[in-house]
Symmetry: D2
Subunit: 130 residues, 4 copies
């Protein structure tokens, strides 16, 4: 199977979002899935992803996927963050892909390439002000 066919078989974000809707409905979990609860759960899971890195040096953190146990935890927490983000989007009726496309466009105006500070300019990424 070539790469193109593999990509055709991979689920899309929308397909996964719908599977999560069906998953919650089958278990009657919708009453828990309020926007506020899902925003809290998203933050908790992002914290669990960060926990993997909290005591690592930058060098150890960059090699995190070389350790099979940590690599599994990273993939698992990425999945949890994405799951709650999609469930949050379902709960509030936001389509995350156009939301991100619009944000990138705003950031292209906000951080024009020529004037953008380089990495060595003092260590504050302009994103830091967002």
């Amino acid at each position: 199977m070539n790469e193109r066919e593999t990509e055709d078989l991979a689920p899309t974000l929308e397909e996964l979002r719908q599977r999560l809707v069906d998953f919650a409905a089958a278990r009657r979990w919708e009453p828990f899935h309020t926007p506020k609860n899902l925003a809290a759960a998203l933050t908790v899971e992002a914290g669990e992803l960060l926990e993997i890195f909290q005591w690592l040096t930058p060098e150890q953190a960059s090699a995190v996927m070389a350790d099979p146990d940590r690599a599994h935890r990273v993939r698992d927490e990425v999945a949890d963050v994405l799951a709650y983000l999609l469930q949050f989007c379902t709960a509030v009726g936001v389509d995350p892909l156009p939301a991100l496309a619009a944000k990138i466009e705003r950031n292209e105006l906000r951080f024009p390439v020529p004037g953008a500070p380089a990495a060595g300019d003092g260590g504050v990424n302009p994103e830091g002000v967002s």
Copy 2:
């Protein structure tokens, strides 16, 4: 334009991930984009999304998109969370879509439908143990 054509025009997750790669490269921000920094930034942005809801009652939270200012903030923070999640995935070499598909499959085994506690069974969503 019919719905099908609209979908064809919407960016895919992979296209947005690549745009973020190009955006960071053009501004020479890659040195900042370590896995540890991006996991921290993801958590910070998730907190900013939660901040919108922190003092709202469940009823107010459910109506959050009826307020244009809050609706804009919600879309903006969803975009930020997704952006940092995609940049994190780039930094560690994880494809988020198969990671989530695999997690849903594990959860289907872990939380079988017949025995799933209903919403009224005591208020603890089994996800709470994850």
Copy 3:
């Protein structure tokens, strides 16, 4: 023993801060205790405290201490958050008590009592803008 004597026996914040310094030194953990790592750990632990509440209704959340297991988790996570906050303060040389006293004074000017919105005024606590 009267209440006054009990209070005299309770540790002060400064005594606990010093015990945490000694605890880390005895285990040679100081190299991990950078300001950045401790700020990350503090956020992670705050997320673990929030996790206890994420699926609870406001009513269930208000009765959280009636459940012995949850009450133990709450006390444990409060301790973890306070521990990392004190260790962070040690790492950056900030005394948290005067820092909080100064903040309360600024907030007394910022949110004067007569004009403060009441709870029924629309659901946004002015703290939300902080």
Copy 4:
């Protein structure tokens, strides 16, 4: 003024906790101060503290207090985290000082000094499993 007198003038944690109770009561903010809302606000503020450090190298992060603007932000966010932690403790009826003393005692048993991994043993602080 000698050090002893300065310490006598500094507020205690309990005095600041009571000032926060009075502050919220005067502004009729108690309805917002549920355990769940305060746990969310605590996490949000911890994230704001982390935000200061997210793009900094370990070296830059360690020098954070040399920059007056960043030093002010650090003190301000420390105060916010401590304020919400104390308000949370008020809402659930937990005294944070004995809670932390008990946790330190448990950790002294859990991480005995002789067997504690040193900093160079592989980079995972045993706290990471907590």
